[in-house]
Each structure stands twice: as structure tokens, then as C-alpha cells.
């Protein structure tokens, strides 16, 4: 049966593109506000910046219903297992944004109490710099993640970026990963 015999108009698309589009358009973040970055995250969700424009205004209190974890704030050593457990409870596919310098690398708290980068515990997709990042910086990170979701694979989505929880600490890349030309970050283009 060809398309000629169909009586109604319809829309076709690659299933992969539709899945990516659906994932990027309704990404529900889990609440993981730990410090002052959470205030900026709340500001991004409020009316002035309005995260619901991206279909993600519901910060889920339950990790089962969330597919994005925005780690907002410094992660203490005591909080790290909790964070990992919340991450493990989230359903696949799931993504992590490390918001702010404390979550990304410990920031100015270079001491024994603070985890020096949340990517030692969970694999991080996008890092948002700033102390704290403003709502627009968080939205830039979210849009970068959207771009990553839109262009990435739907099944094997996490690329070997040399960073994150799967970091390899052997050989000449010990402790520091060069970005390969093939896995340069996708970027948020200038809007029309």
C-alpha cells in the first residue's frame, strides 16, 4: 500500500527526531537546590524568566518523575551519597546540569568538607559557570543541553568526553582531559 491510497493529511518524521524533540521539549528537573545557586534557579522558574517557556517549570520533588538534575550549590561529602542515590532513582534517560562553580569544581571552597566537583559522583552533561550563575546563564546551560539532546544519539547518549564520573585516571590523560575535535560542544546559536 502506498501513500496514494491514504485519504487524510498526515505528518511524517523520523522516529528518532520525534523522540529527541519530545525529550528536549518537556524536560522535568528534579529539585536539587543545595545553596545560593538554588535561589537563582528559583528565579529562573519564576515569572521574570519563566522556565515554563521550555516546558520545564515543574521542579519534581520525586526523582522518578524527573529526567534532569540541576545540582545547584556546593555538595558536601555528606551530601554526595544522597545525590548519587537521587540520581540512581531517576529514570533513564537522565541528564545532569552542574550549576555554579561550587557544584562544578568546589569553587572557592577548596577544603575537605566540600566535594571538588559533582562529576566525581554523577556524570555531568553541562557545566554552568558563575557564582552564582544568573537565570540567563542557567538558561544558556539548559539550551546547550537541549542542543545536546537534539543532536545526540537516543540510545547511547553519553559520549566519552573524558570528564564526568567515567573519567579515566590512567595514562597521559591523568587528571586532565583534552577535548577531542570530534566532541567539541554544541553551542547555542545566535537566535534570529
Amino acid at each position: 500500500m502506498g501513500f496514494e491510497s491514504l485519504q487524510h493529511n498526515f505528518l511524517t518524521g523520523q522516529l528518532e527526531n520525534l523522540v529527541r524533540w519530545a525529550r528536549k521539549s518537556s524536560m522535568w528537573p528534579a529539585t536539587f537546590g543545595l545553596a545560593c545557586c538554588a535561589i537563582e534557579m528559583m528565579a529562573a522558574g519564576a515569572a521574570d524568566f519563566d522556565l515554563s517557556r521550555f516546558g520545564m517549570e515543574v521542579f519534581r520533588a520525586s526523582p522518578r518523575q524527573a529526567d534532569l538534575m540541576i545540582v545547584a550549590g556546593r555538595v558536601s561529602q555528606k551530601m554526595a551519597p544522597v545525590l548519587r542515590q537521587v540520581y540512581d532513582q531517576m529514570m533513564e534517560p537522565k541528564w545532569v546540569i552542574s550549576m555554579g562553580v561550587c557544584a562544578s569544581s568546589g569553587g572557592m571552597f577548596n577544603n575537605y568538607a566540600i566535594l571538588q566537583g559533582v562529576d566525581q559522583v554523577v556524570p555531568v552533561d553541562v557545566y554552568a559557570p558563575g557564582c552564582p550563575p544568573g537565570p540567563q546563564t542557567l538558561m544558556h546551560a539548559i539550551l546547550t543541553l537541549h542542543e545536546k539532546v537534539r543532536t545526540g544519539e537516543i540510545l547511547q547518549r553519553r559520549e566519552l568526553s573524558g570528564a564526568g564520573a567515567s573519567i579515566e585516571l590512567s595514562g597521559e590523560n591523568r587528571g586532565y582531559a583534552r577535548t577531542d575535535a570530534a566532541i567539541r560542544p554544541v553551542y547555542l546559536g545566535t537566535p534570529k
Partner: protein, 226 residues
Amino acid sequence: MPSNFFGGFKVSFKQIFEPRVTTSYPNQKRPKAPRLHGRHVLNRYEDGMEKCIGCELCAGVCPADCIYVRGLDNPPDHPVSPGERYGYIYEINYLRCIHCDMCVEACPTEAITESKLFEFSFTSRADAIYTKEELVVDDEGRPKHQPWEDWREGEDLHTSGWMRATAPGGASEYEGVISWSGELGYGKRAPEAGQSDNRDDEATGNFLLKDISADHIPVEFGGSVR
């Protein structure tokens, strides 16, 4: 209770006629404060020489230890900076930098200042370490744009507001007195708006936040929100 039931709807429907306050970020940016601390730039003199002398004062004062500088003697035949030494390694880790501007205050040659860019994010840790090639301004004196940064029209013009807002030595009688060196592409810049009257808002791109974001400020504080 029907009256209470409809009372809730009344609150919701009243909001339809209120002015819209949302800044739809990818399409427009909210105006930045004139002295916002954003991504750093390394400035150059008007003749193209770099201002950084590799003294490592910025690295010493940095509370987050995010700056790594190494100085080297200038090559005698083609010096990079005027004077004896120049910074041949200059790296800032933006996953540590808290944008406190202490490096800008410590810098003796006004080499490092902060631009107003704050919309950037990285997908790997290696991208977050800006090297000297990415931080030094280009031949027109503008900051170089990286593909993961979201620059808009005119945002790269005013990159050193905070440094020129206060008196360089801290003494109030010198506020607004031009005592800084010229910059590549701009020459000697006018003072930012400090507490004195010696200011040039046209040249420095200064404005009052109250004027720009009147939609967000209630009427009793001079805005337009009722």
C-alpha cells in the same frame, strides 16, 4: 461556597491584564548592570602591546585559586609587553572563578578587566579553562568570542567599568580623574559613573538600571508596576 470558588478565578483572570514581565531569554537579554563582573579580558595598549607583565598578583589574590600565570623575560627583538617581563601563560578556570574582581583590583597595569558577558556554559571541563589566546583582546580591542558564549550586539564594548568607576588609589578626591592607560581600539576611556559628577555616560555606556527595568519596579519606587 460559590463566592470563594469564583474568588480564586478572579485573581487568575486579573493577571491577564497585567503587563508582561517575562524576559524571553534566547530572544532578548535583560540589561546588565554597568559594572557587572563577567568573563575576563586581557587588555592591550594602544600600540598593540599586552598590558600583562606576568607579576602573578592576580593569582596571588584570587580567593578561589582559579588563575595560573607564569611570567617570562621579554624577547629583546620583539617584546610582547613594555618593560621587562610578560605573562606567557595565563589561564583562568571558569569552573572556579567566582567573579569577585579582586584580580582586577590587584592588577598594577590594568591588564585584566571583566566584561559583561555572563551567558556561557561548557560541556567539558577542558573548555572551562580559558588560555591566553582566548582571553587577550583581538586587534580591534574587542574580546574574542568563543562558540559557546552568547555575545550580543554591543556587549563587547564596555569591558572595564568597575576599574574606572572608583579612584584608582582609593582616595576619594581622585575619583573620576583619568589616571589609567589607554586601551587598544579605544584610547583613554572616560570615567564610569562614580559618586562624583565627572562622568561621561555616552562614552562609557552607562545607564541607571531604574530607567531600563521600569517594568520590574513598583510605582512607589519609581517604576511602572502597579
